[in-house]
């Protein structure tokens, strides 16, 4: 993929790429003051763009949303031969019982036989988090287990 990087003097850096078959561009502007703009060019006027300012947290959440499905798909592909093993993503919502608590406290492995294999935070992957890892709202958990195990994990994460 060819990402076009353009300096915008006095403003920041624009990075965008064309979307195949749509004659449109999508990308971001890294503003000097730290704001990130999501930019999408308009369908009827491809040189003009819509710009959506995102705070650091909002950008991180969006990056999680975009990155997690890919990670899940990749893991699913890896243990496709193992019957009964599945991968799913769960999010720690604001006000979830585990927001601000440690991974160990879920006792996930003991209670469901499923394991938390990765966490997406701020658009970055944290692989195999230990029991001391502290959850925060907007974290995306990638969990591997049997279908029943994953259902149980979902119940634990929402109800405690």
């Amino acid at each position: 993929m060819n990402v076009e990087v353009t300096r915008l003097p006095g403003i920041g850096v624009r990075k965008d790429f064309p979307i195949k078959g749509l004659r449109r561009r999508i990308g971001v502007i890294d503003h000097k003051d730290g704001t990130i703009y999501l930019i999408v060019s308009k369908a009827d006027n491809p040189e003009a763009t819509d710009q959506i300012p995102l705070s650091a947290t909002e950008a991180a959440v969006l990056a999680n949303l975009l990155g997690a499905p890919q990670l899940v798909a990749q893991l699913r592909e890896e243990h496709r031969e193992l019957d009964g093993v599945n991968t799913r993503q769960f999010s720690i919502l604001e006000g979830s019982p585990y927001d601000g608590r440690r991974l160990g406290e879920t006792e996930m492995r003991t209670r469901t036989k499923a394991s938390i294999v990765a966490i997406m935070r701020g658009g970055a992957v944290i692989p195999s988090p230990g029991p001391d890892f502290t959850f925060a709202a907007a974290d995306l958990l990638v969990i591997v287990g049997t279908t029943e195990g994953l259902d149980a994990a979902a119940r634990i994460l929402t109800n405690g």
């Binding site: 915008l8 006095g10 491809p46 040189e47 763009t49």
Partner: protein, 393 residues
């Protein structure tokens, strides 16, 4: 008696600042730059205006000097040397077209009014320079930062700002009425300084940054402001113009130091620059406006057309569509702080006639209003006329 004078000065200064705050609020409400309103405020309270202020003259005078230095220092901070060099390399043809198309109307009007060489050089600058502050803000507000034509507009602005660094020393020399030889010498010094600063900033920018940087806000502010005033003072004592000195210092400071410096200096700049605009309005006699009003309108119409032409041509070279071209053209129309900086230098030197300040004020008032309006309405108008064209065909 002394206490009384101080009290009066405080009351007047307070009234001026509070008044500016109210004007700024009105400007923000209607989504325009506050600069034209500050000028209007100055006109109202100055010589021949509604109320005359005398007790704060000295303070406002020095404050406005600091205002110019801070305006240029922050302009320099916006850029780093690499941006300037690449911007320059990419945009010089458009930059030259920009100079030719937009300085010429100013020169012609100054000559027509019989202001001679000095007036011509000054008016050239007033009509040439777009307001990078207003334009950048406009692009952000209208959501055009990601547009294809935006880098073209920005690189023209970069070019203009660099030209300012060469132009201001020439202007200072011309205004001081020095001989051609001395003038060339001044220009030589300025260009040499610019080159040295660019090279130093490209290679050793972090050392300059490290010199002024400090984790403590108070120390940082003192070092920064002290440096800026020192450099500006030295530059002005060798006739290079204080503003250029500050601009060069701004360029030499880079990266995170520059970002922090911008944050810490912005409110100070807003305060002192506002006083600068007020002073310019104060020294302009409202009664001198009507005779030059016609010329100001003519200049506004002509330079709106030439700025649009410049942007159109530059965007076309970059392969933009018709919409992109008119967007680029109208974005460049707004004039503001730097036209007034140039005019302010001229008025302070006393080398230009009284009508000059009136013409410059009226012109900038017009362009600061026309610019943002033009940038907003031109695209919808073009879309509408295209649709009509399609329907009729």
């Amino acid at each position: 008696m002394v206490a009384n004078t101080t009290a009066l000065a405080l009351i007047q200064l307070g009234a001026v600042l509070f008044g500016l705050g109210l004007l700024g609020r009105i400007a923000a409400r209607i989504g325009m730059s506050p600069i034209p309103l500050y000028l209007l405020g100055g006109l109202l309270f100055g010589n021949g205006g509604l109320v005359e202020l005398h007790h704060v003259d000295e303070f406002i005078h020095l404050a406005s000097e600091i205002g110019v230095i801070l305006l240029l220092l922050l302009l320099g901070l916006e850029y780093n040397a690499a941006e300037l060099v690449t911007g320059m390399r990419r945009s010089w043809p458009a930059g030259l077209v920009d100079i030719f198309l937009n300085a010429t109307p100013g020169v012609l009007v100054a000559l027509a009014l019989g202001w001679g060489f000095t007036g011509a050089v000054t008016m050239a600058g007033v009509t040439y320079i777009s307001s990078s502050g207003i334009v950048a803000k406009l692009l952000d507000e209208l959501g055009r930062l990601g547009n294809r034509e935006t880098p073209v507009i920005l690189s023209i602005l970069v070019f203009e700002d660099l030209v300012m660094a060469g132009y201001l020393p020439v202007l200072t020399a011309v205004l001081a009425g020095v001989s051609l030889l001395a003038g060339l010498q001044t220009l030589g010094v300025a260009l040499l300084a610019l080159t040295v600063v660019l090279v130093v900033a490209l290679r050793f920018g972090r050392y300059v940054s490290a010199l002024v940087a400090s984790a403590d806000n108070e120390i940082f502010l003192l070092k920064l402001l002290g440096c800026a005033l020192l450099v500006a003072g030295v530059a002005s004592s060798v006739q290079v113009s204080a503003a250029v000195g500050a601009f060069l210092l701004g360029i030499a400071i880079s990266d995170s130091t520059a970002e922090n410096a911008t944050k810490i200096l912005e409110p100070l700049r807003d305060l002192f620059a506002a006083l600068f605009f007020v002073l310019f309005g104060l020294t302009t006699d409202p009664a001198s406006i009507p005779p030059v009003l016609g010329w100001a309108c003519l200049l506004a119409v002509v330079t709106t057309a030439t700025k649009v032409g410049t942007g159109w041509w530059a965007a076309k070279r970059a392969g933009a569509s018709r919409y992109g071209r008119v967007r680029a053209g109208t974005a460049l129309v707004a004039h503001g702080e730097f036209s007034i900086v140039i005019a302010g230098l001229a008025v302070a030197s006393g080398a230009v006639p009284i009508e000059f300040a009136a013409l410059a004020t009226t012109y900038v008032l017009l362009m600061a209003i026309v610019g943002p309006v033009a940038a907003r309405v031109v695209e919808p108008i073009l879309v509408w006329s295209d649709r009509r064209g399609v329907r009729e065909a």
